[in-house]
Assembly symmetry: C2
Homo-oligomer: 361 residues x 2
């Protein structure tokens, strides 16, 4: 594979100009760009500018509204449902998180379920908005069906990620950001490009039998829930994924389960939707709603210290504190640039040409 | 194995009299009994009256206070920290959930972190309190260290369960209640009693290497997080467990990680605790804080219908809707009695004799 490395500012300018060409306001283009670039900076290549052309194709098909009317449709002092107006999840989710944070500022906590949205990028972006305010952040989203529940031979759930973020003192925030499937779809795509088999327990074939062929999904196979099989707790991965689906969509009025619209423009959404767009669930809780902030932070630092110094099985593998690898990637890529694979660059250049924008390379 | 079957009322009377002998108030004895019996009724034998003698032994050692001063030590309109006064988690957690529900009634949601508590029984008991009020219930607790983080050869986390419960319409509530380890400790105990090996991926030995020996934990081994190994996402199980630990203990001022006091009386708690007792985290959100209740319930019924009718891999295995097996067990055991293994009956009889109570059989 060939990589090209770009400065953060170059990628930002390019991305912003694409969003503007789609008709996004300057403010929305800036925000959507920030979500994507943060993902690349943090080393989550599958959710960064590599997805930009996908958003453009959905917009071309009229499935993303670049000028959405995002509004609160139902609320109490600490809960709300937001209709994203079919906008980019990249702008709808930060809007929702702002509402959650405002409620938390007044009442201690705030919780927002979102309908009529689209892919919201990395969940960690949204939870970090809460962490910056010394709050605990929660973010979840449902997603296009790729995962089969335990015992099923049908794709009924997305990789439905959950994210929890906690502000620490001397350390970077502890951020758990994880798909509820055994493997994220991005890992499968890497194996596809490399032509390598995947481990047992990631996928099943169209007959519901174990497989290691990374192309299985195109042939009617499914991803498996975290836990992989019943004996190893796949019903738990299914339960977590169900929780995300219910909080994000059954609660907000979005589509759930197999009705969630596909992220790819070449697949059509269900002709009989049960709700509007895809759903998210976001929350914020003030740390000082529970104990003084400095006490919490110093104990979380102690937690990090203790887990970082756990006895190791192998000399070269320490316990990984959730969020630390991404924090280090951001330091490195901010300084030395963001690598994109050739395939992504070509894809971005094509879209740039079509929209009449200076190509990336 | 030999089983004896008891009526619900007989087991309730027996259990209540034990708690009263410990010095619990009539109200607390009633409540603690209800939590344990609900567990047996729902088929979660590991968390029912089988644990009663364990509570007695901790009380004998002065590690459980039968007349605790349970109080709110910090709060905002929708958040609170509760000190459980070293009481039974079986009474402390329902107290905390009541506070969460009261806050949710007024403001839409309520969240309570608890310190200085003990084992709280099944998490589902507490979330069902919220469901009865047409709210969504959340419950988590940290627990004695048995689980090693990914790459570590040290028991730093409990099986730290998470529970989410949602009220449905024509169906029983959807209740996800799961340990964040690959296998719950109860399953290991069954294998020990039967002298059978356990599947790969549940435990590691004292060298951090894979093992199938169910006695490994007594020899310095550890349980593994959900996902079992890094390739299958054990860092996700670790992340979930970490989330439970932080919300339950770092937030409340309880002990976390390796400092969590052991549930068994023959092991001493840490001489240098970082907090008070064990910690829980409970929450309630009004469904109608997001959308009209009847709409939510009818969509959740539709969700259950769709997942129940998923294409099956095998004719005899349907997709299991979280909470349904426990609901059916409760119907059956309420009608036909609760089976206890001989070993548990003997243990209960011994304690009864010691406390001067009529034996169970």
């Amino acid at each position: 594979m060939t990589y090209h490395t770009f400065t953060e500012s170059k990628l930002r300018e390019f991305t912003k100009s694409i969003f503007k060409k789609m008709g996004c306001s300057a403010e929305h283009a800036e925000l959507a760009t920030d979500v994507l670039i943060k993902s690349d900076l943090r080393g989550i290549d599958s959710h960064g500018v590599a997805r930009l052309t996908g958003y453009v194709r959905l917009w071309e098909k009229g499935r993303i509204n670049a000028q959405p009317d995002i509004k609160i449709v139902h609320e109490t002092p600490t809960t709300a449902t937001i209709d994203g107006g079919a906008g980019l999840g990249l702008v709808v989710a930060p809007f929702a998180m702002k509402v959650a944070i405002e409620k938390a500022e007044k009442y201690g906590s705030g919780w927002v379920s979102v309908r009529n949205s689209n892919h919201f990028g990395i969940a960690a972006y949204h939870t970090m908005m809460a962490v910056e305010k010394d709050m605990i952040g929660f973010a979840m989203t449902n997603a296009s069906p790729l995962v089969a529940p335990t015992f099923a031979n049908e794709r009924l759930l997305g990789t439905n990620p959950m994210c929890y973020a906690f502000p620490a003192g001397k350390y970077p925030p502890v951020i758990v950001d994880m798909a509820t499937s055994a493997a994220a779809n991005g890992k499968l795509e890497i194996a596809q490009r490399m032509g390598k088999p995947v481990p047992d327990g990631w996928i099943q074939n169209s007959e519901g039998q174990p497989s290691t062929d990374p192309h299985e999904l195109k042939k009617g196979g499914s991803l498996l829930p975290l836990g992989s099989d019943r004996e190893h707790g796949s019903h738990k991965g299914f339960g977590l994924s169900a929780t995300v689906d219910i909080l994000s969509a059954v609660l907000s009025g979005a589509n759930y389960g197999p009705w969630v619209p596909p992220f790819v423009a070449f697949m059509e959404p269900s002709a009989n939707p049960v709700g509007l767009g895809i759903g998210h669930f976001l929350g914020a809780m003030r740390v000082d709603g529970f104990r003084p902030l400095d006490e919490f932070k110093s104990h979380l630092d102690n937690w990090v210290d203790r887990f970082s110094s756990a006895k190791q099985i192998s000399a070269d593998q320490k316990v990984i504190i959730p969020g630390q690898p991404e924090f280090l990637a951001e330091k490195e890529r901010s300084a030395f640039g963001i690598p994109l694979i050739d395939e992504v660059c070509k894809d971005l250049n094509e879209v740039a040409m079509k929209l009449g924008i200076e190509p990336l390379i």
